[in-house]
């Protein structure tokens, strides 16, 4: 049977993808199916709209090692569309599956719809400088970033089938030393105000200037990729950009941030953007509502004093 298939190694992402799957189902008149490794979640998927759930019987397998299993299943079930949760693991799996199926794959699609016999998708290009619309031939594989869709409304009345699939994972890669990345549990995407720091800060000790401003206005601290990944001054969960967090606070105050496109793509939904930078030509001013050209080390303490209640 042809169908629309959803796969994610993360149950929450699979549930979100069912929303996109239900839209495609309405347009394509094809059944909606989920491929999962978690048998315990099968009923939930059915309540959310899946007609059939394929449970891969591969306990504790490394998800990336299941690509061939997913590809074989998609082929034998003649899947028209395979939506894969766009986690890093998911993107790895999706690319292998697409290759094995000789199918097109759109990475990180923000929108997916069916029209004129092909899928139409929207995604970012050049690190967010542009939006690109593509068509993808059927069968198509698409990865969708986590949290792009909200879960459908469940209904306990829905019925569906559950089928077990024997899965032989790829054992060529041995996994060891799995270490959780230390997390402070801060969710900067939920903050209404952010004071964000960039490479304009010369030393880690100088970050207190931003912290004091943040405290004065009730903001969280965020940063650029360089500050988190090159300098390691702040945890990666605080970094904003194409490969980091996307934020939409009421106020985003960028201190010592030049405003490269890879960063700005993560802040473009902010209500107000304010920039402090010594370089008048820094691209951040093009992205800002208000700005000060000046020495951040001089400006930030003054701004803290001026905005302190």
């Amino acid at each position: 049977m042809a169908g629309i298939f959803v796969f994610s190694e993360e149950d929450a992402v699979a549930r979100q993808l069912l929303t996109a799957g239900l839209e495609l189902k309405a347009a394509m008149q094809l059944p909606l199916c989920v491929i999962t490794t978690n048998a315990g979640e099968a009923d939930t998927f059915i309540h959310l709209g899946a007609e059939k759930v394929f449970v891969l019987k591969a306990p504790k397998a490394w998800p990336e090692g299941l690509a061939k299993v997913v590809a074989d299943l998609a082929r034998s079930e003649q899947a028209s569309v395979l939506l894969v949760g766009g986690t890093l693991r998911g993107k790895d799996i999706a690319a292998k599956v697409a290759s094995l199926l000789k199918a097109g794959l759109v990475s990180d699609a923000q929108k997916v719809k069916f029209s004129n016999g092909v899928l139409e998708t929207t995604r970012l290009l050049y690190a967010g400088l542009a939006l690109c619309e593509d068509t993808v031939a059927i069968p198509a594989v698409v990865t969708v970033p986590p949290r792009t869709f909200t879960e459908p409304v469940p209904s306990a009345d829905r019925q569906g089938a559950v089928q077990s699939v024997e899965a032989v994972p790829d054992t060529r890669v041995a996994i060891s030393n799995v270490c959780p990345i230390e997390s402070e549990g801060v969710d900067i995407t939920a903050a209404s105000k952010l004071v964000s720091v960039g490479r304009g800060f010369a030393h880690k000790e100088d970050l207190h200037l931003a912290e004091e401003l943040a405290k004065a206005i009730g903001a969280e601290i965020s940063c650029t990729r360089g500050v988190a990944e090159d300098y390691h001054w702040l945890p990666i969960e605080r970094y904003i950009g194409i490969s980091g967090q996307k934020v939409k606070p009421d106020l985003y105050l960028a201190a010592g941030i030049s405003g490269q496109v890879q960063h700005v793509v993560g802040i473009r939904d902010s209500k107000f953007i304010v920039a402090v930078n010594s370089d008048e030509r820094a691209p951040i001013f093009e992205a800002a509502d208000y700005g000060i050209v000046g020495d951040m080390y001089e400006v930030l303490p003054l701004l803290t004093a001026a905005l302190k209640h």
């Binding site: 990336e64 939006l131 993808v136 030393n177 959780p180 509502d289 700005g291």
Partner: protein, 259 residues
């Protein structure tokens, strides 16, 4: 001593692509070519590995005729030899086509112990090439890697995922994609630039790769590209002393109800 192949893409420098305000089309006329950012990390990592372990590094690229501009650049960064496929098909190639061409070229050139790629390109950032190559060449893939070391007959690589790191180990050849944080690519010295001119480069004709016409037909076709334009107020205080500018900004923020 490993024989390493590093794949790279020659892309436009996105920082110099302008958006035409009239129709939101992209204006690349001022943008120069560059080796895609994370591919530079892959080239550096290959070079660091052979400096430590011995062996050789070859580079491989596929693009339009502009890839010729990349040859000296890539050779100045460490590789001993570069193979290049220049063909008009690259203009509209999706990851399916690119991986087909690279995989066919690799089969033609010969066996490698390690194939390195950047995690994604600076232009389309599809993050597909390493896992696609692995699937086409029937090799294991290790993606999103921040550290690589030799291990037995193969390699150990530390992957960095969203919520954890993990060490992936393979025996025998593998395809690995690296993150930008794995190293800091060196800036080629004058000596390296001069030496690059003497290193070999070899063109591979796409017709000699044994690909079917279908292998070169993209499955993903771009139908529209529009620059993303933000409408912002762009009120910038640049005159006067710091205190005066801060007073103006504080005033503006209060009027917007932000502070």
């Amino acid at each position: 001593m490993p024989k390493i192949l590093v794949c790279y893409k020659w892309v436009l420098d996105e920082q110099d692509i302008k958006i035409n305000p009239a129709d939101l089309s992209l204006d690349p006329s001022r943008a120069k070519g560059k080796i895609s950012d994370f591919d530079r990390n892959a080239i550096e990592e290959a070079t660091l590995l052979v400096e430590k372990l011995g062996g050789t590094v070859d580079a491989l690229t596929y693009g339009t005729s502009t890839v010729k501009q990349s040859l000296k650049d890539v050779l100045s960064r460490g590789p001993n030899k570069v193979f290049w496929v220049a063909d008009a098909s690259a203009e509209k190639a999706d990851a399916h086509v690119i991986a087909n061409v690279l995989a066919a070229a690799i089969r033609k050139i010969g066996q490698y112990d390690l194939i390195l790629c950047g995690e994604g390109s600076s232009d389309s950032y599809n993050q597909q090439i390493a896992p696609r190559l692995a699937a086409l060449l029937d090799l294991p893939a290790i993606t999103y890697v921040q550290e690589i070391s030799a291990s037995g007959n193969g390699f150990s690589a530390t992957r960095k995922l969203t919520d954890c790191t993990e060490v992936a180990t393979v025996q025998g050849p593998a395809v690995i994609s690296v993150l930008g944080e794995i190293n800091k690519p060196r800036i080629p010295s004058l000596k390296q630039v001069l030496a690059a001119a003497k290193k070999p480069s070899e063109e591979i004709k796409i017709a000699d790769l044994g690909l079917t016409p279908e292998d070169l037909v993209p499955k993903v076709i771009c139908i529209s590209v529009k620059g993303f334009v933000m409408t912002r107020k762009n009120v910038v205080y640049k005159d006067g002393d710091a205190a005066a500018k801060v007073a103006k900004l504080a005033d503006s923020l209060k009027k917007e109800g932000l502070c």
